[in-house]
Symmetry: C2
Subunit: 181 residues, 2 copies
DNA sequence: AAGCGTTATGTACAAACGTACACTGCAGGG
DNA sequence: CCCTGCAGTGTACGTTTGTACATAACGCTT
């Protein structure tokens, strides 16, 4: 046998690499072999660490959802007062967690897959509940609901548009939803 | 040979069936054979009418984008005056063209695919340009931009949320973006 | 009716896939 | 030092995939 790697928490690394592969090729073209090659591990390593391809995808998307929800909560938790809360929401959209093109694309892949898989459906529902709750600490329930949707729409448009919406317009949109100070 | 069908514009019907298959199984699991079975045509019929699977998907998503853009324009074109324009925007979101769960899911599949395919990228860009232009006939440019993103976000949330946002809240969100009458 | 180009079909094939499984190297206790 | 159990690997197999292609039926002109 060729060489044997000492590679603790390889499982965790495989999950991260899987997200990279999905971001580059899409769920449709994500295979055991592509992930194995990208992570530089033998093919058998994947079936050893994960029950199957579905299991691998579920682990990857769960990590994505958890991390983006963490970033969402952290940004909003750091804001004190209504003024800072508005700035935090705008920062979420233009920032490099939710707003990052890679993460936006991955999120669509997740939504598309979650539509047909109950386990992933729960992942998206949990993520939505967390973002909603984080917003509700600063805004009224109805406003939080609208903001949640606005954030999603703005992230999508900034990731897809040829000329992304300016940060200034993003701030203005948030202000209009939240209302006058 | 068994039986031969008289089936004019089969090509068109195949495109429609393809959208159904994508909606049910996702792009990742859409194959020549599934579409052929769903449309009740022989396998060879697909390679006859379309250059390949990519071509078929492109045709299907182009049809989706065109139809939703048509609906978008038609609804907004029928509105006269700012008041009607607001109602039209709300109707788009809660209506059965953009707002329909099936179409929302298909649109995510499209976005996910378009991220990696220039031809489909142009399809989404064209659709966005049309919706933006339709909004710009009733609202200021910056407001149209915000509304466009809001519509997208609200459609997504209504399709994915366990308890979809009420039509009342949708109207309120639109009003806040557009501003006081 | 006979020929002919277009439309349409069934089949065959190579490539790529997920996954099972026999196997190998390593660590730790006896 | 040997043995045993587990972590990790390579390969092989059956299935499904996209697509090419030889063939067949049809419509139309002659």
């Amino acid at each position: 046998m060729s060489e044997r790697r000492y590679d603790p928490n390889r499982r965790q690394r495989l999950i991260e690499v899987t997200l990279d592969v999905i971001a580059e090729h899409g769920v449709a073209a994500t295979t055991h072999r592509k992930v194995a090659q990208a992570a530089d591990v033998p093919l058998g390593s994947l079936t050893y660490h994960f029950k199957g391809l579905d299991d691998l995808l579920a682990a990857a998307f769960t990590k994505l959802a958890d991390e983006t929800a963490d970033g969402f909560e952290a940004t909003l938790a750091g804001a004190e007062g209504p003024d800072a809360a508005r700035a935090a929401v705008a920062a979420l959209i233009t920032g490099d967690m939710l707003g990052e093109r890679r993460n936006v694309l991955l999120t669509y892949e997740l939504y598309a897959l979650a539509a047909r898989r109950p386990d992933l459906r729960r992942v998206t529902e949990n993520r939505m509940a967390r973002s909603r709750a984080a917003l509700a600490r600063h805004f009224e329930p109805a406003t939080a609901e609208m903001l949640d949707a606005l954030i999603e729409g703005l992230c999508l448009h900034r990731a897809l548009a040829v000329i992304p919406m300016s940060a200034e317009t993003v701030r203005e949109a948030v202000n209009r939803i939240v209302g006058p100070l």
